[in-house]
């Protein structure tokens, strides 16, 4: 084993320099040396020579690399900030260089499908909890790292980049991971809360994307605040039920990562998921929207997986199910809305 007793403070690793990854790297660089991993060589060069990502200036102390081994050797704590679609692949790339002394914290709000080899979602139809992995479960499955945490909360990357005040949740089963996350991230403008229910916090960030798409659609239809209030609160109920069925606790869903994030994304044109819903309501097709978006809207995949999950259980999730028909079927948004208005919700809140 490599000697780990160097007296120098180790660097902090950031894997993935998308908008969120860049914002986190900037915050980290205020206190620590940061090594960032980017897959594309031109991004690495841009960071190392110009100290910029996609033309936007970043902290000069951030060094970039495309060598996973170098990053893992230089860092004890690593932040994975990659979209869920590429998450598993990148984790596998890093896996040979990760050891049990590493702490990994991720900031990805997505789910990963875990089917037996060679099967697709279309073939299987319905899925159960064991077929869905949250990102922390992907890390546990693919690597030997056990001290895993996640970041979630209302963290719109652009606002964070501008240095506006915000807060996040670091969730982990391990206190030491939470403390490490707080130590590294907390600044005057960035508050960091801890939560031990990592699954609940991850699911909050994931499931709220469904509601964000719906909120965008309402805005696109030109509906007002009453409708949005209705959607957010009904969406919350659905989120709690789905989240519970997936193993999260109610407490986490009504916290910063749940309600906090839901309010932020449902009101923001900066949110990608919101934008998807908005453009759908304006008449664009899903294909057109996906082709012209720079970064993925996690919510689309989430709707697909959760719909298959709902069918595998005996639950009803009207918003998710109807959104699925709009995204992947030929249901019109207006019709979906009508359906929701007629749906016999009788009780306001019955999960507390």
């Amino acid at each position: 084993m490599a000697s780990k007793n160097s007296s120098k403070e180790k660097s902090i690793g950031v894997v993935g320099m998308g908008s969120f990854g860049t914002s986190i790297a900037n915050i980290l660089a205020e206190k620590s040396k940061v090594i960032a991993y980017a897959r594309r060589p031109e991004v690495v060069d841009e960071i190392n020579t110009l100290h910029k990502v996609e033309g936007l200036p970043i902290n000069e102390k951030i060094i970039a690399t495309h060598d996973p081994e170098y990053l893992c050797k230089s860092c004890d704590t690593i932040f994975f900030m990659i979209p869920s679609a590429g998450f598993q692949e990148v984790v596998r790339l890093f896996s040979p260089y990760l050891y049990p002394y590493h702490i990994v914290i991720h900031g990805t709000k997505g789910l990963c499908l875990n089917l037996p080899q060679g099967k697709t979602l279309e073939e299987v139809g319905t899925i159960s909890r064991s077929n869905i992995l949250t990102m922390s479960e992907v890390i546990l499955k693919e690597t030997v790292v056990i001290r895993v945490g996640c970041l979630a909360g209302p963290n719109l990357a652009k606002e964070m980049y501008e240095g506006q005040p915000a807060a996040t949740v670091v969730a982990s089963k391990f206190n030491e991971v939470i403390l490490e996350g707080q130590r590294l991230l907390r600044t005057d403008k960035f508050q960091v809360y801890g939560n031990s229910d990592i699954i609940g916090v991850e699911l909050s960030g994931v499931l709220k994307n469904i509601i964000a798409i719906a909120a965008g659609a309402l805005a696109g239809l030109g509906l007002g605040e009453n409708a949005k209030g209705l959607l957010v609160s009904r969406g919350m109920v659905e989120l709690v039920y789905l989240g519970n069925a997936m193993g999260g606790s109610v407490k986490s869903f009504i916290g910063l990562a749940g309600i906090g994030d839901l309010v932020a994304t449902c009101n923001s044109t900066l949110s990608r998921n919101f934008t998807v819903g908005y453009r759908l309501a304006k008449g664009e097709s899903l294909e057109e929207i996906m082709n012209t978006m720079e970064e993925v809207a996690e919510g689309i995949n989430t709707v697909r997986l959760m719909k298959a999950f709902v069918e595998g259980t005996n639950m009803r999730a009207p918003i998710t199910e109807n959104l699925y028909k709009v995204l992947f079927g030929d249901l019109k948004i207006e019709e979906a809305l009508q359906y929701l208005m007629k749906y016999p919700f009788s009780v306001d809140v019955d999960f507390l």
Partner: protein
């Protein structure tokens, strides 16, 4: 994993008994007991922080509970001076709280002195009384006596009593990673974690350990077993330390955990039944008792802290399953289970293992009739559930060598983090349960019991479990042809699971289906007065006891086989 049963005599890995860790420990018994008491005291003080009030409260609670226990639940093994001891503690505590002249620090000193006495007493009580000559005698009795019985029953003729045609290993088959455990026992410290179905298990495992040529393991045996003289002798001889489940106070639990942790650090191989008690339902343990398990993680970390980073300081977890056709205590266990889980009151039968006579009767039955037992030794793991190779190196899922110490590092140094170790204990518990299912060996009797019960359940879909179990046995029968078909379906799935490495299959399941069913029917719960399954005169399948059928059915829980129905 190979399918053949291991049947040969192993050389002892440490021929000289003076090299046995357990002998070394018993030679140092006095100092060791003191060391345990001392560190248990420290950990209680850690838990109460610096607060005198908390410490006082802990002492008072302990006193209160102990006095209550002595009054309400006395046992034959309890020492005579128990009452006196606790009365003395009481008067000291009363005196101390009345004393106004003492300063806080002085008071604290006195309280610590009382704590010291208690941990010392507990430590002395828990410590094992391993005596090598007793061990030798016991081993001889077990192997010699048993094989005499066995040969008398199976080989005909007057001289059969001296025949050596059958040995105990024909009766109790040992399979799995026997070579690995032998190698690792010479390199580091083994913690064997078996499933627990019967009171017979501890003697059985003791015998297995000796057949494999390993030095004796120490293990925590319920103090209640020491009430029975036969067991007390065997247990002491096999290196048992005493676990008193009546004592639930913090000081006792800390002393017990410290005893285990210190023995592991001393290098003594240990045996835990991680389920805590016998499985009541007949299913493989799903939830483990984590208290003792946590001591493996603590001891491993302590060894790393002391700088013992080679295999000598490494702790290896070896899961073991014991597979039975027949569990003597099944009727009372399942009744207890149903009373615990169900709303219905079930009347409780007496424990079959309550007297030495009953045990003897069972042993005679067991050896003179043919019911086989197999013991599967699983692959050794480190304390985080990673498999280890023959050298004792941990391997990750991809076969890469990793260092267990890395799990305990923070910023490059081994540190103590109680919350982390608690999570690691949960993790290890889940890994052990996984391995139990993987090395569990399916018998014909499990197959028939599972299939029959699921068929009856399907026919009475609308009933809940308790109504189902109350169905009059006379009304239930399964047509043989249908039963056979269903057995084949389940068996097919079992083979698939075997191919996926998710369970193991006994060799007797590799024959024709009729033969398997006959074998299963003949063996399932064979010595019970009421048989869980029988073939009636018409050749159809009947049950004489639904709850017993349920018990034996439960053995195949946890594989998703019920989805076939």
């Amino acid at each position: 994993m190979e399918n053949t049963y291991v049947k040969h005599q192993y050389e002892h890995i440490l021929p000289k008994k003076d090299e046995w860790p357990v002998v070394k420990l018993s030679k140092n018994r006095k100092e060791f007991v003191k060391k345990v008491a001392e560190s248990a005291k420290k950990s209680v003080l850690d838990l109460t922080g610096e607060s005198v009030d908390l410490l006082k409260e802990e002492l008072e609670t302990t006193l209160y509970r102990e006095k209550l226990r002595i009054k309400q639940n006395p046992w034959a093994v309890d020492p005579d001076d128990e009452k006196d001891f606790w009365n003395k503690v009481k008067s000291k505590l009363v005196q101390l709280s009345a004393e106004a002249s003492l300063t806080k620090t002085q008071k604290k000193k006195h309280y610590i002195a009382i704590l010291d006495e208690i941990t010392m007493r507990y430590s002395e009580e828990i410590a094992s009384n391993f005596v090598h000559t007793h061990y030798k005698i016991t081993r001889r009795i077990v192997t010699f006596g048993f094989s005499r019985l066995l040969n008398a029953a199976r080989v005909k003729g007057f001289k059969s009593i001296f025949s050596n045609q059958y040995t105990l290993q024909d009766k109790i088959q040992i399979t799995g990673e026997t070579d690995q455990i032998r190698e690792l026992a010479a390199k580091g410290t083994i913690v064997m974690v078996p499933t627990h179905f019967s009171n017979l298990d501890s003697i059985l495992i003791g015998w297995v350990i000796s057949v494999l040529g390993l030095p004796p393991f120490i293990y925590g045996a319920g103090l209640n077993l020491f009430n029975i003289s036969i067991f007390a002798y065997f247990m002491n001889a096999l290196g048992a330390y005493k676990v008193d489940r009546r004592k639930k106070n913090l000081i006792y639990l800390e002393t017990l955990k410290t005893y285990s942790s210190e023995s592991l650090q001393f290098g003594v191989h240990s045996l835990f039944f991680p389920g805590g008690t016998r499985s009541r339902s007949g299913a493989i343990e799903k939830k483990l008792k984590l208290g003792l398990l946590s001591t493996t993680i603590e001891a491993q970390r302590a060894n790393f802290q002391k700088g013992v980073t080679d295999s000598q300081g490494k702790i290896f977890i070896v899961p073991v399953t014991i597979n039975y056709h027949f569990v003597l205590e099944a009727p009372s266990l399942i009744q207890e289970y149903l009373t615990m889980t169900g709303q219905e009151r079930y009347y409780k039968e007496s424990d079959e293992f309550s007297t030495s006579y009953k045990i003897f009767k069972f042993l005679v039955k067991f050896f003179t009739k043919g019911s086989d037992i197999s013991v599967s030794i699983g692959r050794a793991m480190d304390v985080l559930g990673n498999y280890v190779d023959a050298e004792g190196n941990s391997m990750d899922k991809n076969g890469r060598q990793i260092n267990t110490m890395d799990y305990f590092l923070s910023a490059g140094k081994v540190n103590i983090d109680a919350q982390r170790e608690e999570e690691y204990t949960n993790f290890l518990g889940r890994r052990i349960v996984e391995e139990f299912h993987r090395i569990n060996r399916v018998f014909s009797s499990h197959l028939v019991a599972f299939t029959a019960f699921e068929m009856i359940k399907k026919e009475n879909k609308k009933m809940d479990l308790y109504s189902l179990l109350r169905l009059p046995e006379d009304d239930i029968f399964l047509v043989y042809v249908e039963f056979k078909e269903e057995c084949e379906r389940v068996l097919k799935r079992i083979y698939e699971l075997e191919a996926e490495g998710k369970l193991q299959v006994a060799p007797h399941l590799k024959q024709g289906i009729d033969a398997i069913i006959d074998h299963g029917l003949a063996n399932v719960g064979m010595y019970h007065a009421k048989r869980p399954l029988v073939k009636n005169d018409l050749g159809n399948i009947e049950t004489q006891d639904m709850t017993l059928l349920y018990y034996y059915h439960n053995r195949l829980e946890g594989y998703g086989l019920e989805k076939l129905f």
